[in-house]
């Protein structure tokens, strides 16, 4: 159990059987008045948020969350299959819950899966992943069009802007937090 004085940005609590994270927090106390804990909470499954002000005597249930390393096995339609690296137990996560993660995830990649009451609710990738360029226009030396980037497609189907020297078949490093090109992988 948490009390109001434990509330802070980033704390995860359970409300009506669902996990919430506090995304904004402000402590207020009007002169001669009560301590007020003003929070913005985001539902960690649906993403919906709401504002709520709590008082000192309020109590909160800790959200039973667990993060485990798993391997992405394969996808079949809307279903994405993962395997717990320790227990070898398999989990299915639906495509819409993975959101942008699918832009950077390839078979056999290790990822962190967040579980709420043993149900997977989110996947976090490494900050940097290396992916192969599957389509790129050739670089014309002496191109004076003035553009210093060009679009390419990587093996997941994700499209991004890269420097003109990147070619089809190259492996490039991408920052998964911003989705932007970092460097050409040397391997």
């Amino acid at each position: 159990m948490y009390t109001s004085s434990d509330l802070r940005k980033g704390l995860k609590i359970e409300i009506d059987g669902e996990p919430y994270v506090i995304t904004k927090f402000d402590f207020s106390k009007p002169g001669k008045g009560q301590a007020l804990y003003r929070c913005h909470l985001r539902n960690m499954v649906t993403g919906n948020g709401f504002d709520k002000t709590y008082r000192s005597n309020d109590k909160f249930k800790k959200a039973p969350l667990d993060e485990r390393q798993m391997q992405f096995l394969y996808s079949q339609g809307e279903e994405y299959n993962f395997m717990d690296n320790q227990s070898y137990e398999q989990y299915i996560i639906m495509k819409d819950q993975l959101a942008d993660v699918i832009d950077f995830m390839i078979d056999n990649m290790n990822v962190d899966v967040l579980l709420f009451n043993d149900n997977p609710i989110g996947v976090t990738l490494a900050n940097f992943v290396t992916l192969e360029v599957t389509r790129a226009d050739p670089w014309v030396k002496g191109d004076t069009s003035g553009t210093d980037t060009k679009p390419v497609t990587v093996e997941t189907g994700y499209e991004l802007q890269v420097p003109p020297f990147v070619e089809e078949g190259d492996r490039i490093q991408i920052d998964t937090r911003t989705g932007s090109y970092l460097t050409r992988a040397k391997d």
């Binding site: 106390k29 009007p30 001669k32 008045g33 003003r38």
Partner: protein
């Protein structure tokens, strides 16, 4: 980064200069006390059988009762579990008391202090917008007017529904003092356990709060001198504290024993850390103290 403590010290010098110019005596009172002001909403910090003061009010009023007519103090106050962008569990308070005054004259004197500070601090690398704001002629707004202007609920209804504090913080305070200092005054009687009843309206007390840019800076009032009424108000407050699970509350008998000798007076508590915050444009109180509790 070395700037912040210089700016803080400059403000403290200006404050002391103001009170010296106005013939106030700087006093010190004990920080550890066996009995505190009964206040249900403040959590006392225990210290070896005593408590750390939540404010120097009781001791300073006992000095008024001894005949010291104009006194001020800059001291540390302690309030357990108060932590946020504008709150530290240990913070610096300026308090001053004057025999013979009431809350109206105290608001006027506070305006004088703000103007004096603006003059003294000008050009010292301070936020000029705030310096200019401090000099502006203030707005005076009663609590009832403020609720009428900024909310769809009356003060009476908010108190009955037990949501006065929430409404005040969320809907009223952000509007106060944005272009000029704002005095919010005439609070409901139950929200000023040491303040005198308002003459002509016994449902109110002669209490005010000063706001600058939505930040509450000071709380002042005409002091309650009626011993029987003060005892009754403390009794109510102690009952409320007990109901909320606070332990160790006791009646401040020595203070009550001196109260009949205290002249009519006014007094105010002013949070100096917050004024430094505003003047330096700091977004958190941590930025204007040497060390926050987490840094120790």
């Amino acid at each position: 980064m070395l700037k912040k403590l210089h700016e803080r010290a400059a403000l403290f010098r200006a404050v002391r200069f103001f009170f010296e110019n106005n013939a106030y005596l700087e006093v010190e009172t004990p920080i550890r006390n066996p009995v505190l002001i009964p206040e249900a909403t403040i959590r006392p910090v225990a210290a070896a059988g005593f408590f750390l003061q939540t404010s120097p009010e009781l001791c300073m009023k006992r000095l008024l009762a001894q005949g010291y007519g104009k006194i001020f103090q800059i001291c540390k106050c302690f309030r357990g579990q108060e932590r946020g962008d504008r709150h530290l569990p240990e913070f610096t308070m300026l308090e001053w008391y004057r025999a013979g005054g009431d809350y109206q004259s105290l608001m006027a004197e506070t305006v004088g202090l703000l103007c004096f500070i603006a003059d003294e601090m000008e050009g010292g690398g301070m936020d000029m917008q705030v310096v200019t704001l401090l000099r502006k002629s203030p707005r005076f707004l009663t609590v009832a007017e403020a609720f009428h202007t900024y909310t769809s609920i009356s003060v009476e209804q908010a108190l009955a529904d037990d949501c006065f504090d929430e409404i005040l913080v969320e809907h009223v305070e952000p509007n106060l003092g944005q272009n000029r200092p704002c005095f919010l005054y005439d609070y409901p009687l139950e929200l000023g356990s040491l303040a005198r009843r308002k003459e002509g309206d016994s449902s109110l007390c002669e209490r005010f709060e000063l706001y600058v840019q939505g930040v509450e800076l000071a709380n002042g009032f005409s002091e309650l001198t009626d011993v029987a009424e003060q005892r009754l108000r403390f009794t109510n407050e102690l009952q409320r504290a007990e109901k909320w699970g606070q332990e160790g509350g006791a009646m401040p008998e020595k203070f009550l024993g001196d109260l009949h000798k205290m002249p009519d007076a006014c007094g105010i508590a002013f949070g100096l850390d917050r004024l430094v915050m505003l003047l330096t444009g700091a977004s958190t109180i941590d930025a204007v103290v040497s060390f926050s509790p987490e840094e120790l």
